[in-house]
Amino acid sequence: MLALIQETFAADFMRRALVAGMLAGALCGYLGVYVVLKRTVFVGVALAEMSSAGVALAFWAATVFGFPMEEHSPLTMTGALALMLVGVLLFSLRWTKTVPRESMIGVGYAVAAAAGLLLISHSAKGEAHVLQLLFGNILYVSSREIWEFAAAAALVALIHALFAKEFLFVSFDPETANALGYRARFWEMLFYLTLGLTIAFAIRVAGVLLVFSLLVLPGVTALLLTRHLRRAFPVAILAGVLPIGIGLTLSYALDFPSAASIVVVSFLLMLLAGGVRLARG
């Protein structure tokens, strides 16, 4: 077993995949507890879709205006962050009382998916890049992308460490938080901003499918396994990190796609947590 692990992570690109994946797993796992409890799991996939549409927009703009477009052009990240911000505004504010906020998530997802396809169809190199974002290949992650992601992750972690109680209060009982002087809308928007920032950087290294899975499965696993919220957060981080190593090892040994292998391991972990929960009664 140890030999298999050593062999799996002998190559640089596999070690980079492990680091990037664990970073994404830890951060998405933590945020996923909120995402699951707030019943906004589809905000994750919609923000991811909007970020990838932003990348498509960058490739389209480069083609139309004749910018040189390299693999790690800051333009792609700018596009991803710009559309992520649009998504945060769209999903965190209640624009009208006549339609539920959830419908905006659907609108954002559908329009971003369609816009992404339209934009890459008229860009020179965009199709391959955006398809990689959508389905992801964590094995192609570069050191530079990992460092950039780590910087964004540190910022998100700092914000959540400083304002943990504010996020919790506003998330649990926004009405009373408002009554006690908190600006619930501000804190909601800040939360979605940290979520969007995480997603925009994480999909670059892990792809939409894996990031969405990491936002949902570890959170559910943690809430099944633990009885108290304060324990759910570290367990969710662990449940986000653990399947990365196991999934990558299995994908290497059995020659399966890496992201899908990680998702399956994460799902099996969730089933195990469900079993433990049932056994406890």
Binding site: L37, R39, E166, L168, F172, N178, A179, L223, R230, A232
Partner: protein, 259 residues
């Protein structure tokens, strides 16, 4: 005794005054020309059907919404009119695995300030608040596992943990059986008398409030006027308000409204 607290006798100093206040959202006016003052030691009931604007009025008292017209004046120092808020039970999310103590500690958050964590003193204050509502033994239990009545008490403890001068309660007896309703209202009575709290309580059921409050106002039935209970709960006044025959009787020393 902290400012803003008075137990008995005539109403004390004014805490919050509404002068010709119009409340609403955007261009939609929900309540117009509100004129009343909450005094130290008041025990006020607001009655009205669903949709009459009770929650809107509470939000204005709490300072969450600003008046479209008129003026809301908060007298004295901030501590004098600090409100503890007990929301409707059905607005609370029951999926969060938070202990009762975690929930009550939230009442301390505004006093602790941003970027700081609750300390030992905050935990002690939260436990004391739980003692005040008689459920100190439930502190380590999960909030979501409690009965409706116990949850209501936990939310009252959270409001008390914020060291309020005014306790504001929105439909505190909703979805409760008779025993739960009675226990909740008696607890509010006790907090008013024993802890010298000014109380503002809202309900859509008149008979829930009548035996307890000292002043009452009716929303959605013509003029909004805060009247002493003896003046408000008369057959003549209620028949004029509701345009229907009404009987006011006294059972076991409690005033009861029949229709």
């Amino acid at each position: 005794m902290p400012a803003g607290k008075q137990t008995h006798g005539a109403p004390g100093a004014p805490l919050i005054s509404f002068e010709g206040v119009c409340l609403g959202y955007g261009s939609k006016e929900v309540l117009t020309d509100l004129r009343f003052t909450i005094h130290q030691g008041d025990y006020i009931g607001i009655v009205g059907p669903n949709g009459a604007g009770k929650t809107t009025l509470l939000k204005a008292v709490l300072g969450v919404i600003r008046p479209l017209r008129g003026r809301v004046t908060r007298h004295g120092e901030r501590e004098a009119h600090r409100c503890g808020y007990v929301p409707q039970l059905n607005t609370i999310d029951d999926t969060y695995p938070l202990t009762v103590l975690d929930v009550v500690l939230m009442g301390r958050y505004p006093l602790i300030g941003v970027m700081r964590r609750p300390g030992k003193a905050d935990r002690e204050r939260a436990l004391h608040a739980l003692e005040q509502v008689g459920i100190a033994d439930l502190a380590p239990r999960l909030f979501r596992d409690l009965s409706g009545g116990q949850r209501q008490r936990a939310l009252m403890a959270r409001a008390l943990a914020s060291d309020p001068s005014i306790l504001v309660l929105d439909e505190p007896t909703n979805d409760m059986d008779i025993a739960g309703e009675r226990a909740t209202m008696e607890l509010i009575d006790r907090l008013h008398h024993k802890n010298s709290l000014t109380v503002l309580v809202v309900s859509h059921i008149l008979n829930v409030l009548v035996p307890h409050v000292r002043r009452i106002a009716f929303l959605g039935a013509g003029d909004f006027r805060l009247l002493p209970i003896d003046e408000a709960i008369t057959e003549e006044h209620l028949e004029r308000l509701y345009q229907t025959p009404i009987t006011v009787t006294v059972v076991d020393g409690r005033r009861v409204v029949l229709w």
